[in-house]
């Protein structure tokens, strides 16, 4: 199909709002009578609350409400309902919200917070998930067995283990016995902050008369959050209304109730007045959520020629004090530890463990980043030991179309090989190294990844062609910053046959926009894109039928392109605007269509009974190739270039794909080389951006995004997704390049200059 917009480098439809400062974010929402919230947070990692005295806080002029877990004793949790809005009886991490204040000004709220007195009885705390998993560890959730939770999560009451996931295929012992070499390695990947430039923020209003709870926020899945809150507060779905704003960055961090929770608690006590809660940067870094830290053991059997025979994986994930999306990361997010490789014998044990730390949650890649780190570093170790080129070892084991996945799903649209070929070619793989000058040594590394999308999930949309021919697309897909609106508008424009400029996609409002699973799992282009195709085809058909009636001709002879209705013989012609005017006259009206998409039932996701949930309606493949320069005198690793090739199915908007790839690479570089929390007794010591370092323009390497298009048979115009997998291969590609440069294998992240320098100095002469 010929397209006007799909596949083109269309400028983003939200860019004008953003370059002129008109885009409204949660922090910009201002309502009449709005109060400001502030939060008192726990100074201790694990303690019983003996008493809270709020009397002094209540006397501060301007204070309208002071709330603790006693007044608002509810808990939430999308997967395991274990998290109080405000501490109930005990605190489980430094930074946990204990009490909150709503006041006429931010200053009054802050002053009142400082006047709240809390008496604690400190309890032993545990910060290392490996220790927390042992018998005798301090128990963080005594009531674990009583928590309401998704039935797929296997909790172990009486322990700190909140999810156990086991998987096996074939017989690994047989696989290891068939191997010529068996490799056993342990890896560690650290927690990192999402660091959206807009911290978590929300404005919440609760109208007691109608029991209406309205939340303005940039949550990435407004329908899910509305559903969560309705359940917790015994409200119906239509009594909880999420109004989405633009989002100042999410990266998974806005996939949970965070600032919203403080606002919800306060709003129940402000007599209908809205409350605004903005997290400070310190709160964002210490008390929102982080990427799950993980300890990964990987045992792999290999034939001399590099063929994998068996892999055994054991992972301990750090859940932190409460379960955001950790349970699903430890379940679904763990599976791709085996990489994009055919392996006959497999076994996996994944455990998610509570610790007295800030909650962990979804982080761009949903576990894929963590498991890819281990998988791809080990493949490099294997290649080195066997004396086979790392590219060659990967090619030898790669999935191809028609291969069975670990649950027997048949792999499709595997553009994997092409990503490896193109990325390695771009980096000059196999070329002779330049001669070392001085202390600076160069090296190249490569890593691949496989990432699925949560399957099956639902998206609905609703399209209105208005009286003047303009088009409104109603969806609950948030513009999280990744270009969702642009891609969806392009799909709508080409499906209906109208100019892109005639399309408007308002921000979601769960009161009126239909259900969507959320902007997560790189799913929006595929799922909402398909829903828009379905709705768009419906309105297009109605338009052409109406045109047929007006023009007294067979609608089959008509086509709609760029808002012009054209007869096959070009005799009759009219614009969509004219058609709408003729149909409705001055009366007003609209041509409407709805679209519902789910991949459930697609033959592409058929798999072994019982484990179909491991299937993905589309697989995203990527290879990153890095070239680094290591200064052996200072330990500084300079990333010179990263070639990042991604199979996106079809690039609906190549600019958008490049933005995702380039953005992920610099985020991955920053995570790998700079970012690290420094903790003392559970307290994060580096709680500012001066001390928690993220990459700037000065750290930017040459990034070459390479788009591979494998055309998915059921994707909208052949598209898949790209947002999440782009982060995963960056860390192992850099680490593998460092090994190539200086022969030092890092199995633990981050790779800071101090660690590099120490390793170089400790190297045996």
């Amino acid at each position: 199909m010929e397209t006007q917009y799909v596949g083109k480098r269309v400028p983003r439809v939200d860019a004008l709002d953003k370059v002129t400062g008109q885009a409204m974010y949660s922090v910009d929402v201002e309502l009449p009578g709005m109060l400001y919230g502030a939060t008192l947070r726990s100074p201790l990692a694990h303690a019983k609350i003996v008493e809270i005295d709020t009397s002094a806080a209540l006397t501060v002029p301007g204070v309208r409400a002071v709330v603790t877990g006693k007044e608002f004793p509810f808990t939430f949790g999308h997967m395991i309902k274990d998290q109080p809005f405000l501490s109930i009886h005990k605190v489980r991490y430094v930074g946990e919200p204990v009490a909150a204040v709503a006041a006429e000004t931010e200053a009054a709220a802050q002053e009142a917070v400082e006047k709240i007195r809390v008496e604690y009885e400190e309890l032993p705390a545990v910060f290392d998930p490996r220790k927390a998993a042992l018998d005798g560890a301090p128990i963080i959730h005594e009531d674990l067995g009583k928590y309401d939770h998704g039935n797929v999560y296997e909790l172990v009451p009486g322990t700190n283990i909140s999810t156990v996931m086991k998987y096996s295929r074939g017989d690994v012992e047989v696989g290891f016995s068939e191997a010529d070499e068996v490799f056993e390695d342990e890896f560690y990947i650290h927690p990192v902050a999402h660091t959206p430039m807009e911290t978590h923020a929300a404005v919440v209003q609760y109208t007691p008369s109608g029991k209406m709870l309205t939340v303005w926020s940039s949550a990435d899945a407004p329908c899910q959050r509305a559903k969560d809150l309705a359940k917790v507060l015994s409200l119906s779905f239509n009594q909880v209304r999420f109004i989405s704003t633009y989002s100042g960055g999410g990266f998974g961090g806005k996939g949970a109730i965070v600032a919203e929770g403080i606002g919800v608690a306060l709003a129940h006590f402000t007599k209908g007045r809205p409350v605004k809660v903005i997290y400070s940067r310190q709160e964002e870094l210490t008390a929102s959520q982080v990427r799950l830290e993980a300890y990964l053991k990987l045992k792999t059997g290999v034939k001399k020629d590099g063929t994998l025979t068996a892999r055994e994986a054991e992972i301990i994930w750090d859940n932190g004090a409460y379960s955001s999306k950790g349970p699903e990361v430890a379940r679904r997010g763990t599976l791709t530890i085996f990489g994009p490789y055919r392996t006959p014998h497999l076994t996996l044990l994944s455990r998610l463990v509570y610790t007295n730390k800030q909650p962990s949650g979804a982080y761009r890649g949903f576990g894929t980043t963590q498991v890819t780190w281990a998988c791809e570093a080990q493949i490099d170790i294997i290649a080195g030991k066997l004396g086979i080129d790392p590219v060659e070892v990967r090619l030898r084991n790669f999935y191809a179309d028609g291969d069975p996945y670990i649950n027997e799903q048949i792999m499709h649209t595997a553009g994997l090989r092409e990503t490896l070929e193109k990325a390695s070619q771009e980096i000059g793989w196999g070329q002779k190294k330049p001669k070392t000058t001085g202390t600076k040594v160069r090296g190249k590394g490569i890593a691949t990844t496989i990432k699925g999308t949560n399957t099956p999930t639902d998206s609905y949309c609703f399209i209105k062609v208005n009286v003047d021919g303009s088009v409104t697309v109603l969806t609950s897909s948030v513009e999280i910053g990744a270009g969702q609106k642009t891609v969806l508008a392009q799909i709508a424009a080409d499906t209906i046959g109208v100019p892109l400029a005639s399309i408007h996609i308002p921000n979601p409002d769960t009161c009126s926009t239909p259900f969507d699973f959320g902007v997560t799992s790189s799913r929006t282009t595929y799922h909402m894109g398909n829903a828009i195709c379905l709705a768009g085809q419906k309105v297009r058909r109605q338009i052409l039928e109406t045109a047929g009636e007006i023009l007294k001709t067979d609608p089959e002879r008509l086509t709609l392109r760029e808002g012009e209705i054209i007869d096959r013989d070009a005799e009759n012609q009219m614009t969509l605007k004219e058609l709408m005017a003729k149909k409705y006259g001055g009366k007003g009206g609209a041509i409407q269509g709805e679209g519902y998409f789910t991949p459930a039932g697609s033959s592409l996701i058929k798999a072994k009974p019982g484990i179909e949930w491991m299937s993905s309606i589309f697989w995203m493949w990527a290879t990153h190739a890095a070239e680094v320069e290591v200064d052996t005198e200072t330990g500084v690793v300079k990333v010179l270039k990263i070639a990042a090739a991604h199979d996106v199915g079809r690039a609906i908007n190549p600019i958008g794909c490049e933005q995702q790839i380039e953005g992920s690479v610099i985020m991955g570089l920053s995570n790998t080389l700079f970012e690290e929390f420094k903790m003392e007794k559970g307290r994060i010591m580096n709680d500012t951006l001066a001390d928690y370092k993220v990459a700037t323009t000065l750290d930017l390497p040459e990034i070459v995004p390479i788009i591979v298009e494998s055309h998915h048979s059921e994707g909208p115009f052949g598209a898949k997704g790209v947002g999440e997998p782009a982060l995963a291969p960056t860390a192992p590609a850099i680490a593998n390049a460092i090994y190539d440069a200086v022969g030092i294998r890092f199995k633990s992240l981050p790779i800071t200059r101090e660690k590099v320098l120490a390793a170089i100095r400790n190297r045996k002469p």
């Binding site: 910053g481 933005q659 951006l689 323009t697």
Partner: protein, 157 residues
């Protein structure tokens, strides 16, 4: 103990009463409702609050409103004139330099401060000038390209 200040913001003069501890950022966002200027940390570390004070880029969270007395302030809202975008704004759109957009106003204003004093700025000079503004979406490649496109036009003409 309020202080009266007189300043010009985006060409409009304001005479205002402020407390001595009000920051320029608070004044712009809360009093003047110019919310295009963002707060990302309040400590001068993220750069999303950059505005121009007499043409120089300043972290407005670190400047007291009373120090802006008698000065000319430009925020992102004041950049386009009569619906016509500033070349940097147009270039940011065209080159795909905008993702979530939260740092965009600060990036554009920092670039403007640079190009106003060094119209043909090199890539290296652009990198340095923008290094005080963080962009977690990682749009750096395209942001630098967008600014360089504008500075190159000067160089080429």
């Amino acid at each position: 103990m309020n202080v009266t200040i007189d300043l010009t913001v985006n060409g409009e003069r304001h005479r205002l009463e402020v407390t001595p501890w009000t920051t320029l950022l608070e004044l712009l966002r809360e009093t003047l409702h110019l919310t295009g200027t963002k707060e990302g940390c309040g400590l001068g570390e993220c750069g999303t609050c950059v505005v121009l004070v007499d043409g120089s880029s300043v972290n407005s969270c670190l400047m007291l409103a009373l120090d802006a007395n008698g000065r000319q302030i430009t925020t992102i809202e004041g950049l386009a004139s009569n619906e016509e975008l500033h070349p940097l704004q147009a270039s940011f759109i065209e080159k795909g330099a905008v993702q979530c957009g939260f740092c965009t106003p600060a990036m554009i204003l920092s670039a403007k401060a640079l190009l106003d004093r060094n119209p043909g700025a090199s890539e290296e000079e652009i990198r340095r000038a923008l290094s005080g503004v963080l962009c977690r979406c990682g749009s750096y490649t395209k942001i630098i390209e967008a600014v360089r496109t504008v500075s190159k036009e000067v160089e080429d003409s």
